[in-house]
């Protein structure tokens, strides 16, 4: 009876009910769509950032993150490879050695960061092999002929006034503190999209790197290929423990890219403030329309109370009315939000005009919202809950109603 009375009551003012429901629907739809868009853009940001060079995760010495010194290296044993393979199926590990060195052409010298890599595996990690502007990437096979190959960032090559085919001299310190010197051949120039890297990065074959810098086959990092790319990190605890016992650690992209994590956190908190405002607006506008509908029926409620209907029951009827409007809005908003989000998840949204900004960060101007259970349900649930709670208030106010004045009112 409460339910059918409440249902009929809300359709006494179909326009008001529809407007309220539509307002809830739009808010709800936005709260489905916008978080999905956010997640999509974060994912794009993260993908772009880790795709340039870092990869999804790296195995390093525990101390390496804080003091990335030459000496903080380790020997990649077969056993380690096997363990990782077992714990994370379809994964591979790529060796990396990192060092700083002085690079000289005939005319000038600059400081650079040189990375020793396994070229074939790098293609699965980094966009640098794809972004060779002149020449080619390091050869897949290490032969006596190819082993002295080096590639340089475009700005660095320009500063050094080097062309593909020229000789490059490296001067640095080996792991053991000895002088490390090498003469290599420039076979390619890359342009990563990140100025910083193009100005100071170089790559060479890991084998030659190990020799030149007296690494004795040790590495500074093993990059995990096919690691967990999604925003939620999860790696097997058993793997973490295995590594920990060997003074190693698996650094996921959050650890490798703290700036991005901070940027995402900042963006989430400002978005959250906006969502809260959005919810408050809808709660108060619905509360207002509910109070109005109660006020309009003062006389009717007075009559019902005169007949012996208790304020509690009237309060429940009014509450159920609010719940109906809320459900109409939330359900339709959920569906519409999900459909719209899914549509754009497939087709993508291109932010024309913002392309320049996006490109600066190495981002594609087309963003694909990502629908997931959290972004789909949290917003509507919170809206529903807030409206359900607020909707009880007009019902409480009924307790103040005095029968005789109520029946006299128009």
């Amino acid at each position: 009876m409460i339910v059918s009375l409440a249902w009929r009551n809300i359709w006494r003012q179909p326009r008001r009910t529809l407007l309220s429901a539509i307002a809830v629907m739009l808010t709800c739809g936005l709260l489905v769509f916008l978080p999905a868009l956010q997640i999509g853009s974060y994912q794009a940001m993260v993908d772009a950032a880790i795709g340039i060079i870092d990869g999804t995760a790296q195995i390093q010495k525990s101390a390496y993150l804080d003091s990335p010194s030459m000496r903080t290296s380790f020997l990649p044993k077969d056993e380690l490879y096997q363990t990782v393979k077992q714990e994370i199926p379809d994964s591979q590990l790529a060796k990396r050695g990192n060092s700083f060195a002085l690079v000289s052409s005939e005319e000038r010298s600059y400081g650079l960061q040189i990375i020793g890599v396994e070229p074939e595996k790098e293609k699965l990690i980094s966009t640098i092999p794809k972004n060779i502007k002149q020449g080619r990437y390091l050869s897949a096979e290490v032969t006596s002929e190819s082993v002295n190959e080096i590639i340089l960032g475009s700005v660095l090559a320009k500063n050094l006034q080097l062309k593909v085919g020229d000789k490059v001299t490296l001067l640095g310190t080996g792991k053991d503190g000895s002088l490390a010197a090498d003469s290599l051949q420039l076979i390619g120039i890359f342009s990563s999209g990140i100025k910083e890297l193009d100005r100071q990065l170089a790559q060479m074959h890991y084998e030659r790197f190990s020799e030149t810098f007296s690494m004795e086959n040790q590495v500074h990092a093993l990059v995990l290929i096919n690691g967990e790319k999604s925003l939620m990190r999860s790696y097997p605890d058993s793997l973490k423990r295995y590594l920990q016992e060997r003074d190693l650690v698996l650094r996921d992209w959050q650890a490798l890219q703290p700036d991005i994590v901070d940027a995402i956190k900042l963006d989430i908190s400002s978005a959250l403030a906006m969502y809260i405002i959005l919810i408050l607006v809808i709660v108060f506008s619905l509360l207002n329309s509910s109070l109005m509908s109660v006020l309009e029926r003062t006389r009717e409620f007075g009559m019902m109370m005169a007949l012996g209907v208790k304020a509690n029951l009237l309060g429940k009827i009014i509450w159920v009315e609010s719940i109906f409007v809320m459900l109409l809005g939330v359900c339709s908003g959920l569906i519409i939000g999900a459909v719209v989000t899914y549509y754009y998840q497939v087709t993508g949204i291109t932010f024309t005009g913002a392309d320049v900004v996006f490109e600066q960060f190495g981002l594609d101007p087309t963003i694909y919202p990502l629908l997931n259970a959290i972004s789909l349900l949290v917003g509507p649930l919170v809206i529903g809950l807030c409206l359900a709670i607020a909707g009880a208030y007009p019902g409480f106010r009924i307790h103040r109603l005095e029968i005789i004045p109520a029946m006299r009112s128009v």
Binding site: M1, R8, R12, M305, A306, G308, K310, I404
Partner: protein, 227 residues
């Protein structure tokens, strides 16, 4: 004779309107017996509605004693009064008697549902009572689809359906033309005869006063005449 079904003893009602005190009832003494058909007559502002509200438990007396069917109203709280109204008193107001979103049947059944009458029995009774008030074929209509007289008939049917001790009617014919008024009065008189339900009708309509067996004249908040 039996114990009266309504007893009023020295009932006072004083409204405080800002600085001014309005003495709406000034010591009403009144006994009404089971099965009576009583009119409360009097000029506008004499206190008819106020007295009816006191008897109906819609408002509390300032001083004095009111008893309905053995219950002392002064000792009751809001919820107790609501229960008393639900079980013992039927109301017919001047207008806006019915819940607009419910059909005539549903309006009649609504009160029974609150009283806990089973659905089957409610259907039966609501059909029967609408037949008795002469609008059997209009049960599925909403109040807005009924004429003023028909709406009042539904209100009477609702007041009567659960066998209350008394039915209180405040100006039930005020919005009706004289022909419709008369047929409503005839209906009430008939129901009063049949069911021995007590009717108390507040009115200043001579037609109504003429119709009732016992005529009580209220003047300046007191019973001026009772015959």
């Amino acid at each position: 004779m039996d114990k009266p079904i309504v007893i009023c003893k020295d009932v006072w009602k004083i409204y405080q309107q800002g600085e001014v005190k309005v003495e709406a009832l000034r010591g009403v003494d009144l006994d009404i017996f089971q099965g009576e058909f009583v009119s409360l007559a009097g000029a506008s502002g004499s206190g008819k509605t106020t007295l009816l509200n006191m008897i109906g438990g819609l408002d509390s007396v300032s001083s004095g004693y009111v008893e309905v069917d053995g219950d002392d109203l002064s000792g009751m709280n809001k919820n107790g009064l609501a229960d008393l109204r639900l079980s013992k008193i039927g109301f017919v107001f001047q207008a806006y008697n019915l819940i607009p979103v419910l059909t005539a049947y549903e309006n009649v059944e609504f009160i029974m549902q609150l009283q806990g009458v089973p659905a089957e029995r409610r259907r039966e009774l609501s059909h029967e009572i609408l037949g008795r008030v002469g609008i059997a074929d209009m049960g599925e209509r909403k109040p807005a689809e009924l004429s003023g007289g028909q709406q009042q008939r539904v209100a009477v049917a609702r007041a009567l359906v659960s066998n209350p001790s008394i039915i209180l009617a405040d100006e039930p014919t005020a919005n009706l033309d004289s022909k419709t008024s008369e047929s409503l009065l005839e209906l009430m008189a008939e129901l009063n005869q049949e069911s021995q339900t007590t009717f108390i009708v507040a009115t200043h309509d001579p037609q109504v006063i003429e119709f009732t067996k016992r005529k009580i004249l209220i003047s300046d908040g007191k019973v001026a005449q009772d015959c």
